[in-house]
């Protein structure tokens, strides 16, 4: 009964979505209050049905109901409970159900918390949200139905792909989807604004929190995915410029740009059309991201053809929403009234700079990811665009962006003073230069670029805090006063500083790992020792262990530093008999924010085993930085105050800008 209940609930959700896609639009057209009000209840009840459906599928997984084909194909009765639950979204069909679940969740949240929205805008937003939902319900029910049954329930399932049986991947997809789907709200607001033909600062006030929430989830999701790849794939790399990763990076870049331009719009009523375009682009890239990963088009263009109905449906959805959104934009955007003016050197100007670089960076990733696919589809030639391409294109775009980052918050709205901002950043410059010099002295000249990377990271980190210290008068007024002022500062200002600081932290981690990571690949026999960067690891021998649905061969190592035992590491190879696959479980030892990384290779005939040992200095900073960025977003999100960018009056003397505002 459970699977059929879930199935029926999903069909009901589709029916409600159809009503919600049409009725509120008509209501808004004729200003019929009750038809517009309809959207509120249908959005909430629609969410309840999707939630019921998702719950039903999860229950099928938990009880190993193999009469459901999807459960049979992706679960196993011996799996630990937690992976039974997570395998609900560890496959195409289930993950699409999670997608619509989150979509309906956001729709319901807008319906519940959107009380301050104008009635027509709310009706339009919920209707557009329902267009997306309708397309996805149909996609799921017709081509990727997780509730299909089989008459003879097999006794055992085929098990979840072993590399997905991991906590990291359990949390990664829901976070990523929260991000992707969160941008659908921005998209719906943008389309609604285009339909209404009216857009103003108030619009940004309503959109920004949703965008920010989505951005935070996406930031955390990407970091999580990167950390998972780092420890699970056994090569110690944290970013591979793999299409799957790029698929999540592109919406992040567009979303970050959207976040910043929405601030300009809310505070200054400027960049309105550009913000609408970014909202459409961010969600379009999220759609592409979802389908790039899910359709299998990445492994080969030909898998697209192997399941034509699914492929054609995906293409239709992409064309409908991306093409439709952009067409509507091209048609209606010129009718929107342009907003406030500003000088090139100003906070607005800085944010335009940020937007330009972010979107260009996004474009390079887009080209690097999709060009090989297009080429393969057209000519059949397979090429791979890897790290060298992205290092040459993406990095040069990000360096000026990072360098400019501390300047932004220091410029006044409307017209700023670059020189004054630079003067206030002198301390940060100084610390950056000291960092460069110190690295040169410590390192010698053989890694030329690294000191500059470190210098830039410190400049970004210190520079992010300059705004706060300037505004609180730290170092100039007594500490007690400064503390008082710091508490009084809007949390949005703190949010900016913290998020920018986090970017610097990530940069520091990346530079350090790229430059100073060291590795050794050796074949060891028991009792032999391998040493790296002052750590000595003695191979104590192999042990066989068995887990709930796997067997593992673990190699035990004792780690010493300067002769003192500091711990044990036990990398392992797991064999999952149900899929006859094996996975590598790397062993990690965290020392501060650095890590020792040990993973096993093949066993040789003479009884020795190949091991890869890496020392990754400051590697954890890469992900900690992302967490810090997320916290910055959270600070800003918690600030419910209205955002007004007080312009710097034209006649004011330059001197007053240097004074802290009292």
């Amino acid at each position: 009964m459970i699977p059929e209940l879930g199935h029926y609930a999903l069909v009901l959700a589709l029916a409600l979505a159809l009503i919600q896609a049409v009725a509120p639009m008509i209501g808004a057209l004729y200003r019929d209050a009750s038809l517009m009000r309809l959207a509120r209840t249908t959005a909430i009840v629609q969410f309840l049905f999707v939630a019921l459906s998702f719950l039903a599928l999860t229950l099928c997984y938990v009880t190993s109901d193999f009469s459901v084909v999807n459960v049979y194909e992706n679960s196993h009765s011996m799996m630990p409970l937690i992976y039974k639950i997570t395998s609900t979204w560890g496959n195409h069909e289930g993950s699409m159900l999670l997608w619509v679940f989150i979509l309906a969740l956001f729709g319901a949240l807008v319906a519940i918390f959107g009380g301050n929205l104008p009635a027509t805008l709310k009706a339009h937003v919920l209707a557009v949200q329902s267009w997306i939902a309708t397309a996805f319900y149909l996609f799921i029910l017709l081509t990727s139905n997780p509730f299909l049954r089989q008459a003879q329930a097999p006794f055992e399932g085929r098990d979840l792909n072993p590399i997905l049986q991991d906590m990291g991947l359990a949390i990664h997809p829901p976070l990523l989807y929260l991000g992707y789907v969160g941008f659908s709200i921005a998209f719906s607001f943008a389309i609604a604004a285009l339909i209404e033909g009216r857009i103003d600062a108030a619009w940004a006030r309503w959109v920004r929190p949703w965008t920010l929430a989505a951005w935070m989830a996406l930031t955390l999701g990407i970091a999580m995915g990167s950390y998972w790849a780092y420890y699970e794939l056994g090569w110690g790399g944290y970013w591979f410029w793999d299409p799957v990763e790029n698929a999540s990076l592109m919406p992040w870049l567009a979303g970050t740009a959207l976040l910043h331009s929405a601030v300009v719009m809310e505070k200054r009523n400027a960049l309105k059309i550009w913000t609408v375009l970014l909202a459409i682009l961010a969600f379009s890239l999220s759609l592409i991201g979802t389908f790039l990963v899910r359709s299998g088009v990445l492994t080969s263009v030909h898998t697209f053809a192997s399941d034509p109905s699914r492929g054609v449906f995906i293409l239709a959805i992409l064309v409908l929403f991306i093409g439709g959104g952009l067409t509507l934009f091209a048609w209606r955007a010129p009718m929107l009234r342009q907003g406030g003016l500003f000088a090139p050197i100003s906070r607005e100007g800085a944010l335009v700079f940020n937007n330009l670089f972010l979107t260009t960076a996004c474009l390079t990733v887009f080209v690097g990811t999709l060009y090989p696919l297009a080429l393969e589809a057209l000519t059949g030639e397979k090429i791979s665009v890897g790290a060298p391409f992205f290092n040459l294109t993406f990095a040069p775009l990000f360096i000026p962006l990072l360098f400019a980052m501390p300047f932004g918050p220091l410029l006044a709205w409307k017209r700023g003073d670059l020189l004054a901002a630079a003067q206030r950043l002198m301390a940060a410059f100084g610390i950056g230069l000291v960092a460069i010099a110190a690295t040169f002295v410590a390192q010698g000249a053989h890694a030329v670029l690294a000191p500059f990377g470190i210098g830039l990271a410190f400049f970004v980190m210190v520079g992010s805090l300059v705004d706060i210290s300037e505004r609180t008068g730290l170092f100039r007024v007594p500490f007690k006063v400064a503390r008082q002022r710091a508490i009084g500062l809007p949390r949005s200002a703190w949010g900016t500083a913290v998020a920018h600081f986090g970017m610097g932290v990530t940069l520091l981690g990346i530079v350090c790992v790229t430059t100073w990571a060291s590795e050794r690949i050796v074949a060891l026999k028991p009792a032999q020792t391998v040493s790296l960067d002052g750590y000595d690891l003695v191979f104590d021998g192999m042990v066989q262990r068995s887990g709930p649905n796997f067997r593992e061969l673990a190699a035990k190592f004792t780690v010493r530093r300067g002769g003192v035992v500091i711990g044990e590491m036990a990398p392992a190879k797991r064999t999952f008999s149900s899929r006859s696959m094996s996975t590598t479980e790397a062993a990690l030892m965290t020392r501060g924010v650095s890590q020792l990384y040990l993973s096993l290779g093949d066993t040789n005939d003479d009884g020795s085993i190949a091991v890869r040992l890496y020392h990754k200095p400051l590697v954890l900073l890469i992900w900690l930085g992302a967490v810090v960025m997320m916290l910055g977003g959270l600070l800003s999100l918690s600030d419910r105050r209205l955002r007004i960018g007080a312009p710097k009056p034209a006649k004011a003397v330059a001197k007053s800008a240097l004074q802290p505002a009292e």
């Binding site: 029926y8 011996m78 007080a646 505002a661």
Partner: protein
């Protein structure tokens, strides 16, 4: 019954979600941009009081926001206030759609997709059922589950392997027999069982690996008859009919006449054109019987061989780099007496292997040996 009752309740909830907002009257308490700008003005006043922005900035900001406020108020006046007395028929149409189209549409779509007649079958429930009515399949999965927990239990594999063979799960049979070899130690019989499973898994072709297993079995025990038979079959498939014939003849020479495998070997021997040696007299089929049986089975056997050959040809069409496969195919056609096909296959092989001079040479050698030139 319960299922339909729950469906009905859910449908009612969905209809209610549409009808309820339609039934209520009055203004929707909606916000507007005017409210936001008023709030912004208040915020500016608060910020100035708190000393977060300067006097001049606050004034400038206030001017800007006021301008937006006025524009918004003008726009709001231009559009008529949201009317609550909308025409009744629109609301009625929506209500009718919810009352009739929704249940009918949902019901039809669900019946098209779903399987309401099938109860859910959680594993726990099926386990109980299985105990009362044990099918082979459920027994197999129970042994499998047992092996999952105790992967070193040789008995489990010993039980499973022949069942797998009978069920046609040859790949599993290969695995089980490999495990058994590793766990229970090597014996001639286990080796030749493995070879048999490998042969079955590759559609009756004695692969290199299978052949190694049989040879190992014969090395362990020269009287291991199954292995000997398959080594003969391997020779036949390689086109070496004389060798096959001599192996099989050897088997028959040492055999008691009533051994159950004798007819099969004789038949194989006839196929490669050898003559069966006289067997020590005893109760057994007459020569005529054997001949008849051989003749009758020959057709079936040919059928089977043709099937195998067709599969091999298909595989090579997709993966042309397998030189042994090509050799086997060409020889198989020769055995079947289809000289034209053998020549075509040899031509295909030369094209497929054109990039590899080493393999090409082997094919050309074979063509000469079989006299297929031209």
């Amino acid at each position: 019954m319960t299922l339909w009752l729950v469906f009905a309740l859910m449908t009612a909830a969905a209809i209610f979600a549409v009808l309820w907002p339609l039934s209520r009257r009055g203004e929707t308490p909606g916000g507007s941009d005017i409210v936001v700008y008023r709030d912004q003005l208040d915020e500016i006043a608060r910020d100035r009081a708190a000393g977060l922005i300067g006097e001049a900035e606050a004034e400038a900001a206030k001017v800007e926001v006021s301008r937006r406020l006025i524009a918004a108020a003008d726009a709001a006046d231009a559009v008529k206030a949201v009317s609550s007395d909308a025409s009744l028929w629109r609301r009625r149409a929506a209500a009718l759609a919810a009352l009739f189209l929704l249940p009918i549409g949902v019901g039809a779509f669900y019946l098209f997709l779903g399987s309401p007649q099938m109860p859910g079958e959680p594993l726990a429930a099926r386990m109980q059922q299985a105990n009362q009515n044990r099918s082979i399949a459920s027994l197999v999965s129970q042994v499998e589950a047992h092996l999952e927990r105790n992967p070193d239990d040789a008995r489990g594999y010993e039980v499973l392997a022949p069942v797998y063979m009978r069920m046609g799960r040859f790949a599993d049979a290969v695995n089980a027999r490999r495990k058994l070899l590793a766990l229970a130690g090597e014996s001639a019989m286990r080796q030749s069982d493995l070879g048999e499973a490998l042969t079955a898994a590759s559609n009756g072709i004695v692969t290199e690996e299978a052949k190694r297993a049989f040879e190992r079995a014969v090395a362990l025990d020269k009287d291991e008859l199954k292995a000997a038979f398959f080594i003969g079959l391997a020779a036949e498939q390689d086109g070496d009919r004389t060798k096959a014939a001599s192996i099989w003849r050897g088997m028959l020479e040492g055999a008691p006449a009533d051994a159950p495998w004798v007819p099969m070997v004789k038949e194989a021997l006839t196929r490669v054109g050898g003559t069966a040696p006289a067997i020590a007299p005893g109760p057994g089929p007459s020569t005529a019987d054997v001949a008849a049986a051989a003749g009758m089975n020959e057709k079936d056997r040919q059928e089977m061989v043709r099937g195998m050959v067709a599969r091999l040809a298909d595989r090579l069409k997709e993966n042309g780099g397998d030189v042994e496969g090509w050799q086997r195919l060409v020889r198989a056609y020769m055995v079947l007496g289809e000289r034209d096909k053998a020549r075509t296959a040899a031509g295909d092989a030369k094209r497929a292997l054109a990039s590899d001079p080493d393999k090409l040479q082997r094919i050309e050698g074979m063509i000469k040996e079989l006299g297929l030139e031209g």
